[in-house]
């Protein structure tokens, strides 16, 4: 959307608003500079992401220190979902920068100290404000002395900024639930000359052009949207004229364009970017209409290939339709088709997938090969605030799943379970587990007895509560580690431990892990001095698979939703699972 379109759309939104609509979300922006121009761009980005009634409040400018010390004196923070803080060194510490430029040797040290004091102030704000906190990096100062354009100017300005930036990011990252908006990187991408407007700076203490506010507003909107909108998980790639130039069935392996010179360089660079996304936990799959022999000859043996088989979680190489390929890939990876991004050079294939599996995001390879490597550059499709270890390991786990399937064929169910050599570990959830525990609580639908959703804050406070225990369960077998795949929240009252939450990821079903998990939960309750273990089952349209879980494990039904077992008769460990328990006494 252009600057003008955003503004007019936002104006229409504001006119259509009624008092009765609750703000969703309510975002406040506080700047060391006048930040009002961000409103239409941030607002329309949130509208485009499906938020119905974004409401934006701008705090009075250059009150950041006061905001940190006493938020209520600047903003009524009560119903604010997210607070965006934009700041510049030249607004907050103008005298120190001036002294630095005039050769005062102590000014650099003082600037660093002031910057670190600002980190402490923000960490104080974190304690007082419960919503999401988004804080910018300090952009490269827009002062003539920092331009580096005068040939005799010392480069110390660049060094000073680099040092401050490094320390800022390092220290600010340790503040919980704080997300960084890299204003410095945005400024670099736009270019200082295109981003600044000296007239507006002098008239309104507002340094930026409308175009740059558009960039900042969009980025802030992405950070806010990423909290609730789920990112795409898998890129499905066509092969001919997508992974390489040319058609392997016609041009042969030797005839393909894939090299360090153009046009092969474009395909190689694209593959390198895909490999980078893969390292962040995004899955890759191939859907190609080809003779498998031709395809694999190129994929496995072309020496300029960057991607290898180990990076690809699913291959669909045949002459069946790509619509079928999309569905098979989603099924194999156990994800929904709306988590797929499909990239192909054929408008016909893209059109067919769009028609028949409309929730797949489709991208057409650009006609200009040089633009192919940029097709995913800066995209918000994979926006996520936190990459958990489980995300990073997903591709490895899918490969392990392939090995398990091979083992399973031609074996009885019982022999297979034994052959897996399962090891289950139940432990008290600690700080490093909160992200994954919260993720499981909010996205597990099927093996979830109560489907009680909780925010990260709520999980953290339960971990501190003396009457609650938050247990994590991880599982591994001889092929690999499934990671943290189960959560139980126990609540103690008198001599009974009640399972407020009990859930398990679907990828570990059919291995009796639930029985071992219940046995370890019972043992935890025992060590906690309880006599009974109680569980709740709250039916939903999706959790029918666990409606008999308690009955199957010797629990007696007490009322509509409650089941109980005395700990003398509680479930015991299945023989084929080795189990460990790590809980505080």
């Amino acid at each position: 959307m252009t600057v003008t379109e955003s503004k007019s759309q936002w104006r229409k939104h504001l006119q259509g608003k009624t008092e009765a609509m609750p703000p969703a979300p309510h975002v406040a922006v506080a700047g060391s500079m006048t930040a009002e121009p961000i409103e239409p761009y941030l607002g329309t980005h949130l509208l485009s992401k499906g938020f119905e009634n974004p409401h934006i409040t701008i705090a009075p400018f250059n009150q950041l220190q006061r905001l940190c010390a006493d938020p209520a004196s600047v903003l009524s923070t009560e119903n604010i979902d997210a607070l965006v803080i934009l700041w510049r060194l030249e607004d907050m510490f103008p005298e120190l920068l001036q002294r630095f430029l005039c050769g005062d040797a102590t000014a650099a040290t003082e600037l660093m100290a002031e910057t670190m004091a600002f980190v402490s102030a923000l960490s104080g704000l974190r304690e007082k404000f419960s919503g999401t906190l988004i804080v910018s990096t300090p952009p490269y100062p827009s002062l003539p002395g920092f331009d580096g354009a005068e040939i005799l100017q010392p480069i110390s300005g660049s060094v000073l900024h680099a040092e401050i930036l490094e320390q800022w990011i390092k220290n600010i990252s340790s503040i919980p639930r704080l997300h960084i908006l890299d204003l410095n990187a945005l400024l670099r991408k736009t270019g200082a000359e295109k981003a600044h407007d000296a007239r507006k700076w002098h008239l309104y203490r507002q340094p930026y052009t409308e175009a740059f506010w558009h960039t900042i507003g969009t980025q802030a909107g992405r950070l806010i949207a990423a909290q609730t909108i789920s990112a795409k998980k898998c890129i499905v790639l066509d092969a001919d004229n997508t992974l390489w130039g040319g058609i392997v069935g016609e041009d042969g392996v030797e005839g393909l364009a894939l090299a360090d010179d153009f046009p092969g360089s474009a395909y190689r660079e694209f593959q390198k970017h895909l490999l980078h996304l893969h390292s962040r936990g995004i899955l890759l799959a191939v859907a190609s209409k080809n003779n498998p022999d031709d395809f694999y000859a190129a994929f496995d043996s072309h020496d300029a290939m960057v991607l290898k088989r180990e990076h690809i979680s699913a291959f669909e190489v045949h002459w069946d339709s790509k619509v079928d390929s999309m569905r098979r890939i989603a099924e194999k990876l156990n994800i929904s088709t709306n988590a797929l991004v499909f990239i192909d050079d054929s408008p016909k294939e893209i059109g067919e997938v769009q028609d028949r599996v409309p929730d797949v995001t489709c991208l057409l390879v650009p006609e200009e090969a040089a633009y192919l490597p940029d097709i995913l550059r800066g995209t918000d499709l994979f926006d996520t605030l936190e990459i958990t270890d489980e995300d990073r390991k997903r591709a490895t786990m899918i490969a392990a799943e392939d090995s398990r399937r091979t083992l399973q064929s031609g074996m009885s169910e019982e022999d297979y379970k034994k052959a897996l050599e399962l090891e289950l570990h139940v432990f008290e959830a600690a700080a490093q587990h909160v992200g994954r525990v919260t993720q499981l609580i909010n996205k597990t639908n099927q093996f979830n007895l109560t489907t009680r959703r909780r925010t990260r804050d709520e999980v953290e406070s339960l971990m501190q509560s003396p009457t609650h225990r938050v247990l994590g369960m991880s599982l591994k077998d001889k092929y690999g580690d499934y990671g943290l795949v189960g959560v139980c929240i126990l609540e103690k009252s008198n001599d009974e431990a009640r399972m407020d939450t009990l859930l398990m990821s679907c990828r570990v079903l059919g291995r009796d892990a639930e029985t071992a998990f219940l046995a370890q939960i019972a043992e935890t309750a025992r060590r906690w001095g309880c006599k009974n273990l109680a569980g709740t089952y709250l039916p939903t349209p999706k959790n029918g698979m666990v409606k008999n879980l308690y009955a199957q494990h010797g629990f007696t039904q007490v009322d509509d939703s409650t089941w109980r077992v005395t700990l003398d008769t509680a479930p015991t460990l299945p023989a084929h699972i080795k189990a460990a328990l790590d809980i505080a006494a």
Binding site: V3, T4, K7, R11, L14, Q15, T34, E36, P37, R199, K200, H202, L203, Y204, Q206, E210
Partner: protein, 77 residues
């Protein structure tokens, strides 16, 4: 559409066009505060594809004066 400049002020200031005329200024319209002034400049530059100097911006202390400034820059308003 009517008067394009009145229309622009009406949209940015969120005031009915009928209440605006060339004598409207920050002195007789409370919604025309310093933030509104900033938004007006951005909207004028955008809509009429002009670039205003700070002197011109400071001269625009009523709709009539804004009109005069723009006419001097060959914008037909």
């Amino acid at each position: 559409m009517g008067d394009a400049l009145i229309q622009l002020f009406s949209e940015v200031l969120d005031v009915d066009a009928a209440e605006l005329n060339d004598n409207t200024s920050p002195d007789n319209l409370s919604k025309w505060d310093s933030l509104a002034a900033m938004n007006l400049v951005a909207a004028i530059e955008d809509t009429f594809d002009v670039r205003l100097s700070t002197k011109e911006i400071m001269k625009m202390s009523s709709i009539g004066l804004a009109r005069k400034t723009l006419q001097e820059k060959n914008v037909k308003v």
